[in-house]
């Protein structure tokens, strides 16, 4: 019988200390609760307790039709809401067999990459803040604010956009969109060297992250880890490259891989992904074709009987939407395979044997969004 590894759960001796991190703790970025068992300062056991913001989105979606359920999914991974909507739209379109107009495809990819940039910028600020540097947070928010403004103009919302829908996108781009995106790219490229000067080259930051929270390639695959966290362990898992959707097979960008597997490698992967996303936006921003923004679909969507699964790459990893349809207007069963849930399960392996102080650095580098885990 094949065995990946022996899972050992022992009762710990009485002199070990148990501390609670969360549910309200700045380093957990939301309401996540860890029960950590310590031997002195060394982490022996780390146990996540979930469900503080569990809304049972999957159950809710069973009573919503295929146009409505997309709105709920913006509330899962609120930092990648465009990409969540995109995953749902792709899944429904797969069932309907509709072709999306080219203009809508380009807009979708542009929005996805801007979302990824916004998410990575926020991560950069908050990871530095976790480790004790407060200034980067304000720098990151300055640039992120420009993206949220762009979203606000086109989509009407800053965080839960609900812009990408089955068949295309909800509304046409704002007339200022191209100019604003170009201004943002110009500023980001000017400021990125400053970011590296502030944090990447900082010796304190390097000492806090190098060799900390190591996740081996074998463990990363076994735990189903995806996204930048897995790519930092050398696992090639970028859905945009492996199973290209929308326009990604026609675009030029690199899949960023590191093989350190520590917090530092995860940091480097995300910083390089910012450059790759900038490259994608630059390739498309001057070539938005004219045309429709929505394919012609019926007012009430009905999916044929069967099963549909779509995978997209969010800022945190591989998001899967699994719809089981009985031929009606609502999904019979819907499952969201959220990247955060699997990434969280590898936390114990990353933290075990390390110091309690490093837990915060690991937490920052894995970049968990709690509503995405709880759903």
């Amino acid at each position: 019988m094949y065995r990946e590894s022996q899972i050992i759960r022992n009762n710990t001796p009485d002199n070990y200390m148990v501390i609670n991190v969360g549910p309200q703790h700045p380093s957990t970025h939301g309401v996540l609760h860890f029960v950590i068992t310590l031997n002195g300062e060394t982490v022996v056991k780390l146990e996540p307790h979930l469900g503080y913001i569990h809304r049972s989105i999957e159950k809710m979606c069973e009573s919503l039709n295929y146009r409505q359920f997309v709105y709920v999914t913006s509330r899962m991974d609120y930092l990648s809401s465009h990409i969540n909507n995109h995953a749902c739209a792709l899944c429904v379109e797969q069932g309907l067999q509709v072709e999306i107009p080219e203009r809508a495809q380009v807009i979708r990819v542009l929005m996805d990459e801007l979302t990824r940039l916004a998410s990575h910028l926020l991560w950069w600020g908050s990871m530095a803040m976790d480790i004790g540097a407060l200034t980067p947070f304000f720098h990151a928010f300055r640039e992120r604010e420009m993206i949220t403004e762009i979203f606000e103009e086109t989509c009407g919302a800053r965080l839960t956009m609900n812009y990408i829908c089955p068949g295309g996108v909800m509304a046409d781009l704002h007339p200022d969109f191209q100019a604003k995106v170009k201004a943002f790219l110009k500023q980001l490229k000017e400021k990125l060297p400053e970011y590296h000067e502030l944090v990447t080259g900082n010796i304190i930051f390097q000492n806090r992250t190098k060799g900390i929270g190591i996740l081996s390639k074998k463990d990363a695959i076994s735990f189903g880890v995806s996204g930048p966290t897995a790519r930092a362990s050398g696992v090639s898992c970028d859905v945009r490259k492996r199973y290209p959707y929308e326009l990604y097979d026609k675009l030029e960008f690199k899949e960023v891989l590191e093989d350190g597997g520590d917090c530092w490698a995860r940091y480097l992967v995300r910083m390089e992904e910012i450059n790759q996303s900038v490259a994608i936006v630059e390739q498309l921003i001057d070539h938005i074709p004219e045309g429709d923004i929505q394919a012609k679909t019926k007012a009430v969507l009905k999916l044929p009987k069967g099963e549909f699964y779509s995978r997209v790459e969010t800022a945190r990893g591989d998001l899967g939407v699994y719809i089981v349809s009985e031929g009606g207007t609502t999904p019979y069963r819907i499952k969201f395979r959220s990247p955060g849930f699997s990434n969280l399960s590898a936390m114990e392996t990353m933290c075990k044997g390390g110091k309690i102080g490093d837990f915060v650095a690991v937490m920052g580098s894995v970049d968990l969004v709690i509503p995405d885990i709880d759903r």
Binding site: R3, E4, L50, S63, V324, F341
Partner: protein, 152 residues
């Protein structure tokens, strides 16, 4: 590898499985009692070891429960979907958390939401639901919650 070639390859090893290639990926339905053997064979399958489990879930069909496992091979990018039907009144299946570590959390989620009992699971407890919830399974089709009404 195309779905047909892949099916022929797997059909040699797994004689008790029923195949269905009409969907997006190759589907394979196995008896629940044989799932553990099938899983460990798939994990070390020659040429395409399925080392990445990217989704584990359950579907309530009102007459039965169906476990759905999505497996991927990191090298060859092949994907196979394995299904196993369970008795709705007494759902039991072997845990695969020793083969794919990610299954540990996913199985705990299915345990509390659908009430499936995973045999030999290292730590089968509630994960998302509050303590003392045992007995009611929210994702089952006949679940009714008078406080937060979701009508199906």
């Amino acid at each position: 590898m195309s779905k047909e070639e892949f099916k022929e390859k797997l059909a040699v090893t797994f004689t008790s499985a029923a195949f269905d290639e009409s969907g997006q990926w190759l589907n394979m339905t196995v008896p629940a009692a044989e799932w553990l053997n099938v899983a460990s064979d798939l994990r070390v399958l020659e040429g395409a070891p399925f080392d990445y489990m990217f989704c584990l879930t359950c579907v309530d069909w009102k007459t039965k429960l169906t476990m759905v496992y999505h497996l991927e091979c990191m090298q060859t990018k092949d994907i196979v979907v394995v299904k196993a039907d369970l008795d709705r009144n007494n759902p039991e299946i072997e845990s695969v958390s020793y083969i794919w570590r990610t299954a540990e959390f996913h199985e705990r989620e299915v345990y509390e939401l659908f009430g499936v009992k995973f045999l030999n699971h290292p730590d089968l407890r509630l994960l998302i639901l509050p303590e003392g919830w045992e007995g009611r399974n929210p994702m089952r089709k006949d679940f009714e919650d008078p406080v937060n009404m979701i009508k199906l």
